[in-house]
């Protein structure tokens, strides 16, 4: 049935639920009853389908997993298995712990999301897993790293990256990885399956911070991991997920199901609003530089065009007035919200130098591309004229 439907239709299509409920019921239950001892034994030992315990599976969470899997595999004829997790970070930690053990390494690139980088350089090494961090712009370096180090067990990429919007050539990386039989995991949070399908380009795992665009309303913290090797997902991954206790919960899963219904519509508007805001900023004299993947002068525009359907809602710009100018701009905003996170219906604006990265010395900040006047914007779904008017007013 899903094969014949368009993406928007899959997003809103309801499954059949108990009592003919039109909307997915919320099952806030820790455990499940069995009819007989034999039944319990069969279900527990995998001889029969059935629910056991909500740290494992839950009837509210499962249809959400299936829905996200249908979106990531849209048009691909590739069955996927998805697991919802307590946060985007637990999606990262669970997939890495399922794939890599001590003595092995993870190959990744610069400018990862801060939480992921912290996991790679601070937590994994204490368990005997070292990251190999290189520049993925030069694919020869990727090949060289794999050729020279057989202990690399996983390639981890994030594209577009947060907050620099750097992109990685997913298909090219996967082709190299295949030669060396190394699996590739891609963080698809910024693009969402509406704009980018990493499985179509050869990756083995996709993960998301569901907190962002997938849920889209800022009402939950959550994550998801999807895999195409069903055997692996149903054995090693499942075991790791269940034992780490990185499960999601039914109430938040229910919120995500509702969020997904408008995902394609929201992404369309996020993209068109962001494009207009980027064009406006480019024409404003107070702005030194605008980073938006949709602008043809962006260094990653061509790559983004090749592997994405549109350019999403994230942009950065640089104020000529530096640190104090950045603070002043933020404080003068009336409509746009001053908060961390991204991907919500409302426009969120942050000034990394004075908000998220205040403890990082200026020299280190600059290494990450976080200049004093850098503003990060998650362009929302308000009317674009109102967003631009708010920016214009704050820039005065």
């Amino acid at each position: 049935m899903n094969d014949k439907l368009h993406l928007e239709s899959i997003c809103v299509k309801a499954d059949k639920y108990p009592n003919h409920s039109h909307i997915l019921p919320i099952y806030p239950t820790s455990t499940y009853t069995f009819d007989t001892a034999e039944d319990g034994a069969d279900i527990l030992n995998g001889r029969k389908e059935g629910y056991v315990y909500s740290r494992f599976e839950n009837p509210t969470s499962d249809p959400v997993c299936e829905k996200i899997a249908a979106l990531e595999s849209f048009g691909l004829n590739m069955p996927l298995k998805a697991y919802l997790t307590s946060s985007g970070m637990s999606a990262v930690s669970t997939v890495m712990m399922a794939c890599v053990k001590s003595g092995q390494k993870v190959l990744t690139h610069y400018s990862l999301y801060g939480g992921t980088e912290e996991w790679m350089i601070r937590l994994m090494p204490s368990m005997g897993v070292q990251p190999v961090i290189i520049d993925f712009d030069d694919l020869n370096k990727v090949e060289e790293a794999l050729k020279n180090d057989s202990t690399i067990a996983l390639i981890y990429i994030e594209t577009p990256a947060n907050p620099t919007l750097k992109c990685v050539d997913i298909k090219a990386v996967c082709e190299i990885a295949k030669k060396y039989s190394v699996k590739v995991c891609c963080d698809n949070t910024f693009a969402t399956p509406v704009l980018q399908q990493p499985f179509a380009l050869g990756v083995d795992f996709v993960l998301h911070s569901v907190t962002k665009y997938l849920n889209g309303h800022g009402t939950t913290i959550g994550g998801v991991v999807l895999g195409k090797d069903l055997e692996f997902m149903n054995t090693v991954f499942k075991k790791t997920y269940r034992l780490l206790g990185t499960n999601y919960n039914p109430f938040d899963a229910w919120l995500v199901m509702n969020g997904l219904k408008t995902l394609p519509l929201r992404m369309e508007r996020h993209c068109s609003n962001a494009m207009k805001v980027a064009e406006y900023l480019q024409s404003n004299n107070a702005v030194a530089k605008v980073d938006y993947l949709g602008l043809t002068n962006h260094p990653y525009h061509q790559l983004a065009k090749k592997q994405m359907r549109d350019y999403s809602g994230m942009l950065c710009f640089e104020l000529k007035t530096g640190l104090s100018g950045g603070q002043k701009f933020i404080n003068n905003l009336n409509l746009c919200v001053k908060a961390v996170s991204l991907g919500t219906v409302d426009t969120l604006v942050s000034h990394p130098a004075s908000m998220t990265h205040t403890n990082v010395p200026q020299a280190d900040r600059l290494k990450y591309g976080i200049t004093d006047g850098l503003i990060r914007m998650s362009v929302g779904l308000e009317h674009v004229d109102d967003i631009i008017a708010d920016i214009e007013n704050a820039l005065k």
């Binding site: 806030p28 820790s30 455990t31 499940y32 069995f34 009819d35 007989t36 001892a37 034999e38 039944d39 319990g40 034994a41 056991v52 315990y53 740290r55 997790t85 307590s86 946060s87 985007g88 970070m89 637990s90 999606a91 930690s93 712990m97 053990k101 001590s102 939480g115 996991w119 601070r122 937590l123 204490s126 368990m127 005997g128 907190t211 800022g218 009402t219 939950t220 913290i221 994550g223 075991k239 269940r242 034992l243 780490l244 206790g245 990185t246 499960n247 999601y248 919960n249 109430f251 950045g326 603070q327 933020i330 001053k338 908060a339 961390v340 919500t344 942050s350 004075s354 908000m355 205040t358």
Partner: protein, 380 residues
Amino acid sequence: MKFSTKAIHNGQKPDETSGAIIPPIYMTSTYVQESPGNTKGYDYTRAGNPNFTNLETALASLEEGKYATIFSSGLGAITALISTLKSGDKVLATNDLYGGTYRIFTRVFSQYQIQFETINTQDLNEVEAKMSEKPKFILIESPTNPLLNISDIEAISKIAKKHGVMVVVDNTFASSYFQNPLLLGADVVMHSTTKYIGGHSDTIGGLLVTNDLELKQKFDFGRMAIGLNPSPFDAWLTSRSIKTLGVRMERHAENAMKVAEFFEAHPKVKKVFYPGLKSHPNHEIAMKQMKGFSGIVSVEFNCDLETTKKLISSLHIFSLAESLGGVESLVDHPASMTHASIPKAEREKIGLADGLVRFSVGIENIEDILADLENALASV
């Protein structure tokens, strides 16, 4: 303030803006900053949320500790605890540990060279002898699942302290109402809040409590960095549930005692496992360290596997399900359900006979509970 008062008032302040007696549910991922960097103590729910703080304030005080951190699950709490270790570190644990805890060490963290050994923590000489191996901590469950073995928390804490070893107690079975390991010298208390603390079988959650600020910070860091946060909604549900923890535990224990006595007098019963019975081998230690004996009763029937299965399938008040500690009575048959994958000989070696059944005695009327048991026993 006494337990039941704290359970209702700590971390349960009415909402300041509206006066609502019940704090609102903050289903939010992020927080608005007044000006850049100027937060009200929260910047992102993976790191913190007002509903988390409310529940943590209450649970720390109920556990007679200073600091609490809540998690996505009981095993999420164990994951955060293990994240304070590094490759090569060793952990000792009670030998009849909860299966999930056992497996997270042997199947996941063994891949990262975390050394793990189980010992008989009922034997203080064995505990003392193992201290020379310099474990980072010793993890005790008391009472254990499903055999309700009791270890002497105070005595073990004294031994461990002498050797500079941290003591962690999984207090899930007793609940904070009946046992406070921090007062007995333990360093960390762990709970699956899914069980008695949540008490209504409607959430999955975990908890760590300590008096050590540095440890609390490590647990918070682990939660944030690994992403082991619960949902604000589940935190709120648990805050609601702990208001009745005291009255629930009193009734669980009262009903369980009557169930245990009923079984002890029944001819079809071979052995009853309940720390409240004088026949329990460590009843004296239980008397010393617990204020009550909680709601789990395990029973070995004079029945073979098939008859035992028939017996529990004939119950009506007791639902056949995993988990425990909810207001409703639940029954579990280890030999055919949770431990069926272990060969019979192996099972019997660890005390799990074919006729062993675990009852999580609920707070239904005791006459209905006893009639249900009587009925089922008469049918086999």
